[in-house]
């Protein structure tokens, strides 16, 4: 009997590990999933601008080391995203009308987003994640929805090879009551993991166009 119980425990642990989900999360299916998706999409449609703080924790598997970065993000319709890292050093990333601009160490450089498919895709994921527009990501990812009651997790597995060579999976976590994103977790094939926690989210505040004027 003890052996059967031990086997049951091992099998359960294996199944949970294979599915990549915490025991507290349950699969969201059928009507409940569709209702959540529709609610999320409806609230994303109302977002004209968004400002937030973020904290990014990167776990390096090779060195068993963690690197923490902090900063702010600003989004304004249509598809304008400003990502400002304030620590450990200042780094600015901006996407504006298909143009990507970065500023590092006082040097600014710009290029067309089409010349960097990775950055373009990363921007798309961030904008969709911040807004909650998970429907727009379904062309590039196989998505599954889970909930623990308070939060809803959207687990995304890349469909195409080029994205799959960079990310094993990307999880977007939303607050079930506010429908706002609280974290984005990216798992890489190298074993590294990047977790971006979003706080102090401000929706539809005044964001001047000058914010996106970087030289």
């Amino acid at each position: 009997m003890k052996k059967i119980f031990a086997l049951y425990i091992i099998l359960t642990a294996c199944v949970l590990r294979l599915s990549g989900q915490d025991a507290t999360y349950k699969n969201l299916e059928g009507d409940r999933r569709e209702a959540f998706k529709n609610n999320l999409f409806a609230s994303s449609e109302k977002i004209k601008s968004l400002e937030c703080n973020f904290s990014q924790k990167q776990t390096l598997s090779l060195l068993s080391d963690e690197m923490i970065s902090k900063g702010t993000m600003t989004y304004k319709k249509e598809e304008r995203l400003l990502w400002v890292y304030k620590s450990p050093y200042e780094f600015v990333f901006m996407m504006n009308n298909g143009k990507i601009t970065t500023r590092s160490d006082g040097k600014t450089s710009s290029f067309d987003s089409g010349s960097s498919p990775l950055m373009k895709e990363l921007c798309k994921i961030m904008v969709a994640g911040l807004k909650g527009d998970t429907k727009s990501l379904e062309t590039s990812f196989n998505t599954r929805y889970y909930t623990d009651g308070a939060r809803i997790k959207v687990a995304m597995i890349p469909k195409n090879k080029s994205l799959a060579s960079i990310f094993n999976s990307i999880d977007l976590c939303f607050d079930a009551s506010t429908m706002l994103v609280s974290s984005i977790v990216m798992d890489e094939p190298s074993g590294d993991k990047t977790e971006i926690s979003i706080t102090n989210v401000k929706i539809n505040g005044t964001v001047n166009d000058e914010v996106f004027d970087i030289h």
């Binding site: 990014q56 990167q58 390096l60 090779l62 060195l63 080391d65 690197m67 970065s69 890292y85 620590s87 450990p88 050093y89 780094f91 990333f93 970065t102 590092s104 160490d105 450089s109 990775l118 990363l122 080029s162 060579s165 960079i166 990216m186 890489e188 190298s190 590294d192 990047t194």
Partner: protein
């Protein structure tokens, strides 16, 4: 007699070949106290011709003296992982966009040299004092180690930060490392 002369010539030839490997001597890595106790983090810019990638590089030496390093961009996407064991450098991971035989070959050689002559001299550069003029770390000013041509490595300090720069003139590759100060970490 001829047999011995042939043997000695062959041995000398092989010795001269191994000198060209330089950073890959097969000898254990030296102890680098600055990366043994804690992981060192560097703000990094890798420039290849007119393109450049910025990010963070973390470097650590294990107790067996093997040196491991990881370069990621600001968003956390990994560029490459490397290991330098007994003076020989291997790329353990490289992002698909950089995964080209030639790029890997150049990176392997230049990272090896940067670890050997740059990061290996961290203590010496730190003690040189803030604001001192850049010190040439490779080619060896004494002229003893110059087996790799067209590469220059320099080290300097600025506001308690250590700055290393490798310039590979042949392949137009430049790697610049700027250590993060304790409050930045």
């Amino acid at each position: 007699m001829m047999k011995y002369l042939t043997f000695i010539s062959l041995a000398l030839f092989l010795c001269s070949c191994s000198a060209a490997r330089m950073a890959g001597t097969g000898m254990p890595n030296p102890v680098i106290p600055e990366i043994q106790a804690n992981t060192a983090h560097f703000r990094t810019t890798v420039t290849f011709g007119s393109n450049s990638i910025t990010g963070l590089m973390a470097v650590k030496q294990r107790s067996d003296l093997a040196i491991f390093g990881s370069f990621t961009n600001e968003f956390g996407v990994k560029g490459f992982d490397f290991a330098c064991i007994d003076g020989k450098t291997e790329l353990l991971y490289i992002m698909p966009a950089l995964n080209r035989t030639m790029v890997k070959k150049i990176l392997r050689r230049d990272i090896s040299m940067l670890v050997c002559y740059g990061i290996g001299s961290m203590g010496k550069i730190s003690s040189a004092g803030t604001g001192s003029s850049p010190k040439i770390l490779y080619p060896d000013p004494s002229g003893q180690v110059t087996s790799v041509k067209d590469v220059m490595i320099s080290g300097a300090t600025s506001q308690a930060k250590v700055i290393f720069a490798l310039e590979d003139f042949r392949y137009k590759l430049k790697i610049e490392l700027v250590s993060l100060s304790p409050d930045e970490k």
